[in-house]
């Protein structure tokens, strides 16, 4: 590993870095936010918490921290909310975390070294390893341990949903404008590849929300509803744009071949079998999740159902409230 910035020694003085802000969004996170904040306190000069009107003690827990800015706003969708949190930060660098994630001390050292290197302006950000604890152990394979941009320069990255779907949002760095390239002082602190593609830090971010299988099935259920709803809406939209009624879809083949392919992808191609029983259970559950997506799209297109009963509130159509109101009067 030829990472030039590791040669600089870590700052022995653990003062928070003034130019580093942390951005978090929360909703009723009183149970876990404290651990997350503690892991950030020594590192970040500013912590911005954008809360969606929690009803528990999140606010009280947050306001105990001196460097913390607590802002409340109605929930507008994950990507929108996270982008709003980015905008609220004042530091040159922004570290984006979820309330169920925490920074390991090694990751904090890496970030400190990275920023002390004062990276050239064309470096938009750095990726961190995200490791997940599930069913009582780290899941190292099956695509569950991955690198994600989490440390970015202010104004140089935005959150976006994958495929513009309202789920699995990613922090996407914006390419440097041509005139941001600095006059180099000659020190080869970053390779050309790193300048182009960002830097990878190897300290880990630990994610521990899906602690047991029941929790994962819940997540699978919600996410497949979100996916099916968004995809179904897009189908209708395209048909409307063409001025036709949507064709009667046929999902059986996809319901038959996609789940086994998903299983093979996770269990074999991504080496999920190395995680033992857990890898097997995860691969089977993911393949059922794939099945559910198509089954729910079948349901939306062939039955009277307008939207899934477990769709999060922010994705529901406004019409949901009106039939109840009319029956009340």
């Amino acid at each position: 590993m030829s990472r030039a910035f590791t040669e600089a020694s870590a700052d022995s003085n653990p003062l928070p870095i003034a130019s580093l802000s942390a951005a978090l969004i929360t909703y009723n996170e009183a149970a876990r936010i404290d651990e997350c904040l503690s892991s950030l306190e020594q590192l970040c000069g500013e912590i911005v918490v954008l809360d969606s009107n929690s009803t528990d003690a999140t606010r009280e827990i947050c306001e105990r921290r001196p460097q913390l800015r607590f802002v409340q706003q109605d929930f507008a969708g994950y990507a929108e909310q996270k982008n709003r949190a980015l905008d609220l930060c004042t530091g040159e660098w922004i570290l984006c975390l979820d309330a169920d994630e925490r920074l390991t001390p090694e990751a904090a050292d890496d970030i400190r070294r990275f920023i002390n290197q004062s990276p050239p302006p064309e470096v938009a950000g750095a990726r961190l390893v995200r490791r997940t604890v599930h069913m009582g152990a780290f899941i190292n394979h099956g695509g569950w341990t991955h690198y994600r941009y989490r440390l970015v320069r202010r104004g140089r990255a935005r959150w976006r949903g994958v495929d513009d779907m309202p789920l699995h949002e990613l922090l996407v760095p914006i390419a440097a404008a041509p005139n941001t390239k600095s006059a180099d002082d000659g020190a080869p602190r970053f390779t050309e590849w790193q300048r182009q593609n960002g830097v990878t830090l190897h300290g880990a971010l630990i994610h521990s929300s899906q602690t047991d299988l029941a929790n994962q099935v819940d997540t699978i259920n919600t996410y497949s509803s979100i996916y099916a709803g968004a995809r179904h809406a897009r189908r209708l939209q395209i048909a409307q744009k063409r001025g036709k009624s949507p064709r009667r879809p046929f999902y059986l083949w996809r319901m038959l071949w996609k789940p086994p392919v998903k299983f093979i992808e996770i269990y074999i191609a991504k080496a999920g079998f190395l995680d033992g029983y857990r890898g097997l259970i995860i691969a089977a559950s993911s393949s059922f999740a794939t099945f559910l997506r198509w089954a729910k799209m079948y349901e939306l297109s062939r039955t009277d159902l307008r939207e899934a009963s477990n769709l999060p509130q922010f994705l529901r159509a406004e019409s949901e409230a009106s039939p109840q109101d009319s029956s009340r009067s």
Partner: protein, 329 residues
């Protein structure tokens, strides 16, 4: 032609067969008396979506409707009491079976029709049930089975083992709820175990709207598989990789091939796959409970206790009912 509601010969006392005038006299006495003949019993908790449909389907042909609520926080009470024949009561919830038996105790009629808030009697069932109850030769009958059909994914699921006949219309004192949710059922006095689901059945269906949509079904699968795995772990069942891999396939072929699920079209396929995954989940969660640090799945309430072995006959169900009454103040 054999009428579907005729009672087996061994339940008929001999005198009715020989003395037709006595039959007529009894019928006269029954129909002229102002006594209630049949009580519908419903237990509820936050059922404002479905309670009206349920009560309306039994209101015309039952003499009273007992609604036993567990302190709902929605409009269940006002919706139910708007019907004139409703006898509304509230009691703390201590289990489905206890609550259903309590509702039967509150009912006046010699005949009980016990249904859930998510069920609806069809007009054909209403007609047949009423004429069954009013027939003097059925004075000696203990009860009669009723077909229950589930509406799911936009159609009636007639195969896949989802349509079955159970004792729901019975004489007060001759039947008692027992078993374990979701396999709770009415046990009829004196019926041996192998005959608990045998006997004559009425024509006409009870429609069961068990799930709002597929997401709701997956949610239910998640909850029940947690409870089942927890119960098995507490009772000492060991985890078996072989069973985790083999049982889902046998479940799928049971539902889809042997119980003719393929005749239910795409919903039949979705149901078979979901049930197979439910079976997988029971074993995967048992793995979690037996081989990792998890003490109870996150969606099992902390105060949930594994019940003693559930009642599987009239006698044991009646005994556990008596015990429950003795324990409650």
């Amino acid at each position: 032609m054999r009428a579907a509601y005729s009672v087996q010969a061994w339940t008929l006392p001999g005198r009715f067969e020989s003395n037709y005038s006595l039959v007529l006299a009894t019928r006269e006495r029954i129909l002229s008396a102002d006594m209630p003949r049949i009580s519908a019993t419903i237990i509820t908790y936050n059922e404002e979506r479905q309670i009206e449909r349920c009560i309306a389907s039994v209101h015309d042909w039952c003499d009273e409707v007992v609604v036993l609520d567990s302190h709902s926080t929605d409009r269940t009470r006002e919706l139910a009491t708007a019907f004139p024949k409703v006898k509304f009561a509230a009691h703390d919830f201590d289990g489905h079976i206890q609550q259903k038996n309590r509702a039967i105790d509150l009912a006046a009629g010699p005949w009980i029709f016990s249904l859930d808030a998510d069920e609806e009697a069809t007009p054909e069932l209403a007609q047949n049930a009423r004429s069954f109850v009013d027939r003097p030769e059925n004075e000696a009958a203990q009860g009669v089975r009723i077909w229950r059909t589930t509406w799911h994914l936009g159609r009636f699921i007639r195969r896949s083992g989802w349509r079955n006949a159970r004792y729901r219309l019975f004489r007060k004192g001759e039947g008692v709820w027992g078993g374990e949710n979701p396999h709770d059922q009415v046990f009829i006095k004196g019926r041996p175990r192998w005959q608990r689901n045998r006997g004559p059945a009425l024509k006409g269906d009870l429609i069961h709207y068990s799930f709002r949509d597929l997401s709701h079904q997956v949610d239910t699968i998640n909850k029940f598989s947690s409870i089942i795995a927890f119960t098995r772990a507490e009772r000492g069942t060991r985890f078996s990789l072989f069973k985790m891999l083999y049982k889902p396939w046998s479940k799928f072929s049971e539902l889809y091939f042997f119980k003719l699920g393929f005749m239910d079209g795409m919903p039949g396929f979705i149901i078979a796959v979901s049930s197979a995954y439910a079976t997988f989940l029971r074993w995967a969660k048992l793995y979690e409970l037996r081989r990792t640090d998890l003490e109870r799945p996150s969606n099992v309430r902390a105060d949930y206790r594994v019940p003693q072995k559930s009642a599987d006959s009239f006698e044991s169900a009646a005994r556990s009912k008596a015990e429950a009454e003795a324990n409650s103040p």
